[in-house]
């Protein structure tokens, strides 16, 4: 289970660091926070190639849900720009 712990700690540290940096930069748009979180989570998940099949399947489902949220934000932004 060491690989699980290392993966979770990496993602938790990255998300926390991103929040601190974006707050320091004065970022106030929630969609920017969310988009960066998603990209980071997806990249780290892809980097951990040695997960077992069951874990990979579960994480793929989570990635799909998160990516769905990302697409929703993107669509809303496109609609906002076009309107």
């Amino acid at each position: 289970m060491k690989i699980y712990n290392s993966y979770i700690l990496t993602i938790a540290a990255l998300l926390l660091l991103t929040t601190v940096i974006l707050v320091a930069l004065g970022q106030n748009a929630l969609d920017v926070y969310y988009s960066i979180y998603i990209v980071e989570a997806l990249v780290v998940t892809e980097l951990y190639v040695y997960f077992n099949t069951k874990a990979r399947r579960g994480l793929n489902l989570v990635s799909a849900v998160l990516f769905g949220g990302f697409l929703l934000i993107l669509s809303l932004q496109v609609i906002k720009t076009l309107a």
Binding site: I11, Q27, L66
Partner: protein, 246 residues
């Protein structure tokens, strides 16, 4: 049904805390960064819940109990027969089922040549001479090889990838592996192994659990019999040298 383990509990805790934090900060406090922090907690909770479902229900203690019982019985058998020869790890094409280890009952200077598939029995004849008799055993490597998604090819890169997937991703008993191949010899380094090394008669015959897994995977990859030439445990490492026979 949720598999209640530390990952699931942590995931549920973060799910509740993240939902409360993001909703409160978005609708009442109107603080964006606090809402973002809540969202990041929700993302983590989804990941933890997904991983929690994949943790085996059987505790490591129960697994160790079952493994130790099997190993003790095999060790007794090997020691009682007074076998001193090194085990030969055979690929599934020779055993007709899964990769297994053959321990010749008589020690010969040259390794045995196995030309035809062996029957699925404990005591098998592998040659024409009356002395060509041995024990065909199921080892830790036999079971570990079945956990691999696909059989690796006969290259050091593919062997290294398969071993890393097995030791780091599936079994969680090491940090990384490295494999090199030169002619009939394969060297494998396992970094930070978390399985203790024992120097019993049985282990000298079959090799340690890590070496057994490496030999079984290598036998499958090369589709040839393999023996463990050397097994050392220098500081924070396990160094295994294999010889591909035939």
């Amino acid at each position: 049904m949720l598999n209640k383990n530390l990952y699931t509990w942590s995931g549920l805790g973060l799910l509740i805390a993240g939902s409360l934090l993001s909703l409160t900060s978005y609708f009442i406090l109107l603080i964006t960064w606090l809402t973002a922090l809540g969202i990041s907690m929700l993302i983590l909770s989804f990941i933890l819940l997904a991983l929690g479902r994949t943790v085996p229900k059987l505790s490591p203690e129960v697994s160790a109990l079952l493994l130790q019982t099997g190993i003790d019985n095999l060790a007794t058998l090997v020691e009682e027969l007074g076998i001193k020869s090194k085990a030969i790890y055979l690929p599934s094409s020779i055993t007709n089922s899964q990769p297994q280890a053959l321990i010749p009952l008589h020690t010969n200077s040259s390794p045995p040549v196995i030309t035809k598939p062996l029957p699925q029995r404990l005591i098998v004849r592998y040659g024409t001479s009356p002395d060509d008799t041995g024990l065909l055993l199921t080892t830790v490597g036999t079971t570990a090889t079945s956990m691999l998604e696909s059989t690796p090819g006969p290259t050091s890169a593919e062997l290294e990838s398969a071993l890393t997937s097995l030791f780091v991703g599936i079994l969680g008993v090491a940090d990384r592996t490295r494999a090199t191949h030169h002619e009939n010899y394969i060297s494998v380094e396992i970094y930070n192994p978390r399985i203790e090394n024992k120097t019993t008669w049985f282990h000298q015959c079959l090799g340690g659990p890590l070496a057994s897994v490496v030999a079984s995977v290598a036998a499958e990859a090369w589709n040839k019999p393999v023996t463990i030439k050397q097994e050392e445990y220098p500081r924070g490492r396990c160094s295994i040298e294999l010889e591909v026979l035939g």
